[in-house]
Amino acid sequence: MRLVQGNEAVVWGALASGCNFYAGYPITPATEIMEYMARLLPGRGGVFIQMEDELAALGAVIGAAWGGMRGMTATSGPGFSLMQEHIGYAAMSQTPCVVVDSQRVGPSTGQPTMPAQGDVMQARWGSHGDRPALVVTASSVKEVYDTTRLSFEWAYAYRVPVIILLDAVLSHMRENIELPVLPASAELASPSGDPELPFGSHPFMPFSAATRTIVSGLAHDESGATRGSGIGTANEQILKGAIRQIENDAPRLARCRADRLEDAEWAIVSYGITARTARSAVDLLRADGVRVGLLELHTLWPFPEQIVQALAQRVRGMLMAELNLGQLVLSLRAAAQGMCPVSGLGRADGELFTPEAIAAAMSAEIRQIEVGGRMSHHV
């Protein structure tokens, strides 16, 4: 057991997953990830490079993937906004990579050192056009480690940029965790696939003497060709296929934790750092005899619709607590399909919720529903 910082746990999780390339640009509260990588990667035979901005950082990571290395980058709000063009490029070119966004209060420079969860929609819908999205989060240092491991696995399994959302508190929090013994340097299985069909539902195959791949952000077919009358359809097919693959696997990908929901009449839904507070809010309400439980989301996208639906069928109301002015509550409400009322509790002032505030919001919702009042959106 060792006291490990959230950002450090990202690094350990990445190295244990064979990550051997890091390109980044410093930004609070993600910088330590880059600083640990700068110390560790050279001695492991991997590559660390500080780029000139975040577009360059993700561009380098994508280039490195095609050169046969496993790459990641980490940033926060302003840098995450800059990265959107290359997140789209990674999606279009089906390049596996991992992007950490340690969220701080936005928009713009906002509050650089204060936690937020305001990037959950950008993580899903940022970058123009339609794309498959895998976005995960965590609420403890141990989970940061596990989530990072899973992210590399998924990035390669689905050939997508996987986004890990942390926040200023989780990034800097220290908790005791068991760290793995890392092999001296990562031995990666050599990729195999059909050099004639580098895109679509084929395994990722970096450039080699056997390939003549054209990687492009232009619409293309499975062979990489970007011209011809059917290109629009062929490209839509690839994107639909990638999106559908994630949808089909959603039950496996939708990771969450149910806490005291077995007998619950009411549910708090939350994620990331806020889920920790929500757990204490459940303690408070339970002590008052309220039958409430917590659904803590680890995978944000694909949104765990089936799990939410099953829950909406058996509880009388749900409350989403999140550090923004009402983002993921929209998806929660859509997934609940009116089967139960859903209200939201949000803030974007750089402070965390107190357990009392979440408990009070849940109690207020319960009172309103019990007197048959209308739902409000507390923000």
Partner: protein
């Protein structure tokens, strides 16, 4: 590139022909010169990656029988940096437009040159944004017209050679599509050069730059290139002085710097070894 001889065909990706380039476009002459350079160097095509930004110039990677990356506008050197670091055995040739390299991508250009990472930039300078239909570029000469400087540009012209030299590029040359024999020579030399090499090539865009500025068709524009350039003294550092002249007048061409300075990937390999790592081994 329709005039490419049988000898060069094996360098090209025939299913991608014809190119998107307009008849008479100088970008085809440059692509032909790249093929000639590859032929002279006898490099294994499996070890070459051609990369491009976005623009007419950025389409170059599609036409070569190598691995290829067509990236995003201005940012190709970031992708190239990652690719080269991940696989240092690759020979990278990076096609950039003047807008690509000197406007949206100027920051990346400066830092790739500063690091002296081993790759070759071919800067296709047609003094305009070709792909988007003839807008002003940083290279559009003062008083010249584009669709976004319809009354003549009031901005000073940007010189890619100056920028490359200032940023620390270790091989810097400029030529024109008129100099069809010199192009492959400079490109070969740049590819062989162990560090960041840039060859800027003045290229004709008859469709927009030529038409908007009444410079005639491709042959007239080639003559224009000939008449508005001077061959810089072969002594590298004297040439630097000449580039500060009025760019509308005579633009110096030639080789402006050949210098051996520690290359980035090698520096990194040394760092890694010093830390007990096996990078590059």
């Amino acid at each position: 590139m329709s005039d490419v001889g049988a000898d060069l065909k094996r360098y090209l990706r025939s299913p991608m022909m014809p190119t998107v380039w307009c008849p008479g476009c100088g970008h085809g002459n440059i692509a032909r010169a790249i093929a000639t350079a590859l032929d002279r160097l006898a490099i294994d095509l499996g070890q070459v990656v051609i990369l491009g930004g976005i623009g007419c110039s950025g389409r170059t990677p599609f036409y070569f029988n190598t691995n290829a990356m067509h990236t995003t506008h201005g940012r190709v050197l970031a992708f190239a940096t990652g690719l080269k670091l991940a696989n240092p055995r690759l020979t990278l040739i990076v096609a950039m437009g003047d807008g690509d390299a000197l406007a949206i991508g100027a920051g990346h250009f400066v830092h790739a040159a500063r690091r002296n990472i081993d790759l070759t930039v071919i800067l296709y300078n047609n003094s305009i944004y070709g792909m988007t239909g003839g807008q002003q570029a940083p290279t559009t000469p003062f008083s010249f017209r584009s669709t976004t400087s319809p009354f003549g540009s009031i901005e000073p012209t940007f010189d890619a050679v100056d920028l490359a030299l200032a940023a620390g590029a270790t091989y810097v040359a400029r030529t024109t599509t008129f100099d069809f024999a010199e192009m492959p020579e400079l490109i070969s030399e740049a590819i062989r050069h162990p560090g960041f090499a840039m060859v800027e090539i003045l290229s004709q865009c008859p469709t927009y730059f030529g038409r908007l500025n009444k410079l005639g068709d491709a042959p007239d524009m080639l003559e224009y290139e000939r008449d508005h350039t001077v061959v810089a003294d072969e002594e590298p550092n004297q040439a630097v002085e000449i580039t500060r002249q009025d760019l509308v007048g005579n633009l110096p061409v030639g080789v402006f710097r050949r210098e051996i300075r520690p290359e980035y990937v090698q520096q990194y390999a040394e760092l890694s070894r010093g830390r007990g790592g096996n990078y590059g081994a």
